[in-house]
């Protein structure tokens, strides 16, 4: 039954969820949006980080602490991944499109199966004092885990935005995205800058993965539905725009939450993909397109 209260409920939950969607997509906004790497394996890394958090959680480590611990590991992984991608595809140049995409698609499947072989196909979740509780604000009952995810997501997104706009390296990353040749003329190494940026993007994915397992139980093939969500947000944001990522995440979160309330959970997976198709058809440069 439809009511204004129900709608308000959906919007508030959607905003919280939307901030979380921004956090899981912001790594992609850097790797795909700024660096133009066809990183289809991004959601697979996200789920991998969630399982890493689960693994550390078995030793009593808090999920957010686990995410922070995983970040340096993922940073190194990102450096290695970009180096391999650059050496094999970008530098050779020839027909990099098809094989580059296939490369990341293959990596995504390898990660998925590796998770299945190590952890099985069952759903996994983590324990923490803030998971399972909820708080009442006015007439709304809001799960605590969503609020924690919301807060961390907001901090993460703002930190990355500030990093890219205020620090020297951050500005270099944005510069290399605009004109790699100009950066070379300034005496900087565009490849090293991109590699560093890809490492940062992958490190952010580690923390986002911890948020993922806080928000919902994970299973090995969860990355498939996050392909839609993350690419929807990154494309809608306008490739590479950090504030756009936050806004696009909020739009997706509210849209999903309203559809969920009105039509039921079985329609939810299609929302992000439908939004993505809509954006690609109507405004492919995104909300904050360059």
């Amino acid at each position: 039954v439809f009511s204004l209260e129900l709608l308000l409920d959906a919007v508030v939950l959607g905003l919280l969820l939307g901030c979380f969607y921004a956090a899981v997509s912001i790594g992609l906004s850097v790797s795909f949006g700024l660096l133009e790497v066809p990183h289809v394996a991004h959601p697979a890394f996200l789920v991998l980080a969630a399982y890493g958090t689960y693994f550390l959680g078995e030793y009593g480590i808090d999920p957010i602490v686990a995410g922070v611990l995983l970040a340096p590991v993922f940073f190194v992984l990102g450096l290695a991944m970009y180096r391999l991608y650059y050496e094999t595809f970008e530098r050779r140049g020839n027909d990099a499109g098809v094989r580059g995409i296939a490369f990341f698609f293959g990596i995504a499947f390898i990660i998925e199966v590796a998770i299945i072989l190590m952890f099985g196909v069952d759903q996994r979740s983590v324990q923490a004092s803030y998971i399972g509780k909820s708080i009442d604000i006015l007439s709304l009952r809001i799960p605590m885990r969503l609020i924690v995810a919301f807060a961390v997501a907001l901090i993460l997104t703002l930190a990355l935005t500030l990093y890219l706009s205020r620090t020297f390296t951050g500005r270099a990353i944005r510069a290399v995205a605009q004109d790699a040749d100009a950066l070379r003329l300034m005496g900087a190494d565009p490849v090293a800058t991109k590699q560093w940026a890809f490492g940062i993007a992958t490190a952010v994915v580690a923390i986002a993965g911890a948020l993922l397992i806080i928000v919902q139980p994970v299973e090995p093939t969860l990355d498939r539905s996050y392909i839609g969500r993350t690419f929807c947000v990154a494309v809608m944001a306008g490739l590479g725009s950090m504030s756009g990522t936050l806004l696009a995440g909020l739009i997706l979160g509210v849209a999903e939450s309203i559809v969920l309330t009105l039509y039921g959970a079985s329609w939810a997976p299609a929302i992000s993909f439908a939004l993505l198709l809509g954006v690609l058809a109507v405004r492919p440069q995104g909300l904050f397109g360059r």
């Binding site: 027909d95 098809v98 539905s225 997976p269 993909f273 492919p284």
Partner: protein, 321 residues
């Protein structure tokens, strides 16, 4: 028809005759269960390559077409009790329409945008099927096989021969595309789309044709799968594994020539059948993923490229003597 052309058709006729002959002599039904899957992947890889290989547009939505084929068959069975041949024909027509539709919607996009858009379409179709109660919704639907049509005495043997005929059809279409003005145009699109457009190649029309043909074949191959499994559910009919398999087999075999996807599918699907039986179905996806990454990194032109390299080296050695 040229000598090479008639040679191809004689080979094709012998291939189908051999498949039929096998159904008469073999006593073991497992051969046909495994053989059907291998033939199915030859069709999927060949069909994928028409757009992905020749035009360089990476379609992640093989599962959308395959699932559409499966569910067209389910619908035709439940609504009209239609025979297999009409299931396949209607599925093929539906696939062609979907191919044209997806093409119109997405083929103006390039590279990764096109690929992601095809995943989007497949998820949206899957979600519609999940919410469609008539064909069983999310929990799927059980199907009863009717009796086999003479001259076949078992349904699985009939499906095996049907798959063999579809392999011939798929390869014939791929071969036609490759050797005609269509293939030349698509290669121009792949190498430099803007240059092709500027020199008057009707790029969008060529891509739409390729996408329609590819969809036609992919959905046609989905249809008999319903009766093969005697069961259909959205999660397996629209499984993304079909997409990665078709793509991997084509790239591993080599995309430049129609023989590439055939070899790639033959090699990988046979390996997968052995692995599924002896180890597990997870390991076979792992092997597929690893092979895909190894090949795109180490042997970018696939088995065809490796063969050419070996042949050239042998020729050089011959010249040096």
């Amino acid at each position: 028809m040229s000598m090479r052309g008639s040679g191809f058709w004689i080979g094709a006729a012998l291939f189908v005759a051999a498949a039929y002959g096998l159904t008469l002599v073999s006593t073991n039904d497992y051969v046909f269960f495994a053989g059907y899957i291998i033939l199915q992947f030859i069709v999927l890889a060949t069909a994928w390559n028409i757009l992905g290989g020749y035009a360089g547009y990476v379609n992640f939505g093989t599962n959308a077409f395959f699932g559409l084929g499966v569910y067209t068959a389910v619908f035709m069975t439940k609504a009209f009790g239609a025979p297999l041949i009409s299931q396949i024909l209607v599925a093929a027509a539906a696939g062609a329409v979907l191919g044209l539709g997806i093409g119109l919607l997405t083929l103006r996009m390039h590279g990764i945008f096109f690929s992601i858009a095809t995943i989007a379409v497949s998820i949206i179709i899957e979600t519609i099927v999940i919410n469609w109660k008539f064909v069983g919704g999310a929990s799927g639907v059980q199907l009863l096989r009717p009796d086999a049509t003479p001259p076949f005495d078992s349904y699985i043997r009939m499906l095996f021969v049907v798959a063999a005929i579809m392999v011939v059809l798929a390869v014939a279409i791929a071969r036609f595309v490759q050797d005609s003005w269509l293939g030349r145009g698509l290669r121009a699109v792949r190498d430099d789309e803007i240059a092709a457009e500027c020199t008057g190649v009707p790029t969008l029309r060529l891509k739409l044709t390729a996408c329609t043909l590819s969809g036609f074949l992919l959905s046609a191959m989905g249809a008999p799968s319903a009766m093969y499994l005697q069961y259909a559910d959205p999660a397996s009919a629209f499984n993304l594994n079909y997409s990665v398999s078709a793509l991997a087999m084509a790239l591993i075999g080599g995309t430049a020539h129609w023989i590439g996807p055939v070899l790639g599918a033959l090699l990988l699907a046979t390996t997968q059948q052995l692995l599924t039986v002896t180890i597990s179905s997870e390991v076979n996806v792992l092997v597929l993923g690893c092979m895909l990454v190894l090949f795109v990194v180490g042997a970018p032109d696939g088995l065809i490229g490796l063969y050419r390299r070996v042949r050239n080296r042998a020729a050089e050695r011959g010249a040096a003597k």
